[in-house]
């Protein structure tokens, strides 16, 4: 069976240990040197970066997250052993792990490290699809001749370089499509290297729960449960048309995923689909003035980012999370897309008013989606809002002032609420 030593990158045919360096760090698989779609996922990325920069933290449980009311964004593996998980409310995490060192995220630093990892990946292939700062799909199909090594060797070399040069570890999932590669990278964390071959795909998926599918959350899971679908083997019994009738477009996808089929390409420039921003309050609030100020600031932030990318949205979304963690989402389609803070704010504000008094809230978010180029937006003013043209002119003017004198140079009074 083809095997690879992950320590010295030596390829060989037999044995539980590497014949060259005697390391036990060996991955053997019949399809090891023919598979070429990979998912690389850094291990506890934010925490690893913090530990790298401060060796005193190495043996301590470290949690990265925001504020008293925030949630865990990353927990190091020591904290994970104690039961801390990402997205867990901070108070709960601290109950499980009172001696944890809690650090606020330093996104700029993580983005810097992420860019360096990206550079290393670019040495392997141009077909990289980043999912976030710390994970990406890589398509190494057809690169074996160029590199003189099969993809598996190059990937093992990548994670070794990341560890040696950047001090962060990552796990590799190698398979024949994105869906399986993503599952594989999670099988053997941290510093893992998992392979799911074509031959074993059906057997591998058979007993696995469908919630393994990326994108199947609680709501989807509940729908699937109702249909008696818990494992991939349950899906195999369904006809394609029935799945489509019951679940719509996602039904088609489920049909193929259950068979280990995923034709999505690793696309280097996955287009931006939405721009959004949200904030969690220090204390739950239903104060309309305070919430209004938040809606404005969020709208302005979304608008700034849309303007920076020359994009505009045709759908505005308002998200509210109540004290009991239930979410409310309201969205509205605009006839004429927008990137203007004023229109995003007014639209979100109308959605907020339509929700009525359902507070107090712990989180509020504003976003735009169904994105179009800015040339196709803000071109048909509202007949019933004759002041809009003047406000839009004022916004463009203050944008110009902020571009020249800094973001704080001019602000709406509303943003101080």
């Amino acid at each position: 069976m083809p095997a690879l030593c992950r320590s010295c990158l030596h390829s060989f045919d037999q044995g539980p240990r590497c014949p060259a360096c005697h390391s036990p760090h060996v991955r053997a698989h019949p399809e090891l040197f023919t598979l070429s779609i990979a998912h690389m996922d850094c291990d506890a990325f934010y925490a690893s970066v913090e530990k790298r920069d401060n060796p005193d933290l190495a043996s301590k449980p470290v949690i990265i997250g925001g504020g008293r009311r925030g949630v865990v964004s990353t927990a190091c593996y020591i904290a994970r052993i104690r039961g801390v998980k990402s997205a867990m409310p901070m108070f709960q995490a601290l109950k499980l792990c009172p001696d944890a060192v809690v650090l606020p995220p330093r996104m700029k630093l993580y983005a810097q490290v992420s860019r360096e990892i990206r550079k290393m990946m670019e040495d392997l292939t141009p077909a990289i699809e980043p999912l976030s700062l710390d994970e990406a799909f890589l398509d190494l199909t057809g690169t074996a001749r160029l590199h003189g090594h099969p993809p598996a060797v190059m990937l093992a070399r990548l994670v070794r370089r990341m560890k040696d040069e950047l001090g962060v570890t990552g796990s590799i999932g190698l398979s024949h499509n994105k869906f399986l590669a993503k599952i594989a990278s999670d099988l053997d964390k941290p510093s893992g290297f998992s392979v799911i071959g074509k031959a074993e795909t059906a057997a591998f998926l058979h007993d696995k729960p469908v919630r393994m599918i990326w994108g199947v959350g609680q709501a989807m899971q509940a729908q699937l449960d109702k249909a008696g679908i818990h494992r991939f083997s349950d899906l195999l019994r369904w006809d394609k048309r029935d799945l489509h009738a019951r679940f719509g477009a996602i039904g088609d996808r489920l049909y193929h995923l259950a068979r280990g089929e995923d034709r999505r390409r690793v696309s280097a420039n996955a287009p931006v689909k939405s721009i959004s921003n949200e904030t969690t309050f220090f204390e739950d609030t239903s104060d309309p003035d305070l919430l209004d100020g938040h809606i404005w600031r969020l709208a302005e932030n979304v608008s700034d980012r849309a303007k920076a990318r020359a994009l505009a949205g045709r759908v505005v979304t308002l998200k509210l999370k109540r004290a009991n963690h239930t979410s409310l989402t309201r969205r509205v389609s605009l006839r004429d897309g927008t990137q203007m803070a004023d229109r995003i704010y007014r639209t979100a504000r109308a959605l907020f008013e339509a929700v009525g008094d359902q507070g107090p809230y712990r989180l509020i978010g504003v976003g735009i989606s169904d994105l179009v180029a800015e040339a196709e937006a803000d071109r048909a003013p509202d007949l019933l809002d004759p002041g809009a043209a003047r406000r839009s002119g004022a916004e463009r003017a203050s944008d110009a002032i902020r571009a020249r004198f800094g973001p704080g140079a001019i602000r709406k009074g509303r943003s101080l609420r």
Partner: protein, 372 residues
Amino acid sequence: MKFSIERGALLKAVAQAQSVVERRNTIPILANVLIEAEGADVHFRATDLDIEVVDRAPAQVERAGATTVSAVTLHEIVRKLPDGALVTLTDDSAAGRLSVAAGRSHFNLATLPKEDFPVMASSEYSSNFSAPAPVLRRLFDKSKFAISTEETRYYLNGVYMHVAESDGGRVLRCVATDGHRLARIDADLPEGAGEMPGVIIPRKTVGELRKLLDNDDTQIAVSVSETKVRFATPDITLTSKVIDGTFPDYTRVIPQGNTRRLEVDASEFAHAVDRVATVSSERSRAVKLTLEEDKLTLSVNAPDSGAAEEELAVAYGDERLEIGFNAKYLLEIASQVDRENAVFLFNSSGDPTLMREGNDTSAVYVVMPMRV
């Protein structure tokens, strides 16, 4: 309850009822039509809690009574029965079934108790008047295209019917707008309508009302209160809640000082717009109008799909003007013109444009330009 009725009369009554009934219902009885037989008439009543329609049809009533049955199923059955058939409906309240028999066809439908059927509370109407069907038809047909579907501005989801001043006289006026275009249609004020409160009649009600207005000779009895509106013919009574909101002050939206006058054959114009818009991008549907002396050039330039241009001979004597519009909006207002030429009054490429038929100010349309 037992009665016999001619298939044609039954179909007409049930068709009106089933169109009011919402297709998706969480309350089962709202999917039903209430059938009440008494004397020489049968009443068919349906509601979605906002609109109630009552249809009266002559029948041979053997045994008076009432029951409710699925409106859609009954409609489908009656539709499929042969023309001219005599249909006998017999209610077996003990079994909870309604039997529908015609010739050799026989159906048994599940019923729900008539006591559960919600009947709209009657209310006091502050204004009652009568208007010929063609007058109401014109008011609503020419305005309804501009009704908004935007839920956040729910007060635009209908036609605003009210009494207005126009050229010193008082008129019955319908206005609809979605913020992109606006229609303002006037009719002579019917006797007794002077004190009518302004009401916003919801889109669905406008659609249902239209079915009452087909016959030119019908007089429609209109009753209006602050919260409800009722339209009645001798056979059909349509009652609807009105939208609880304030219609915006549309008068300031209608341009007064637009002086650049373009006169064009409406149908030629509409066809040309339709042709050039074929290549416009699916989303924006933007068309550019270039006005020069007695010449109008319509053009579309969509980087992704292509370009198109067409020239029209028109009457125009002002300075050159370039202005962009959504092709769909232009087509919709142009299709309202049926007798004379369309007259457009422009100001600048950023200001609302007014359109009317010849010099007739009883129907005016405003459309907002878009940047092209």
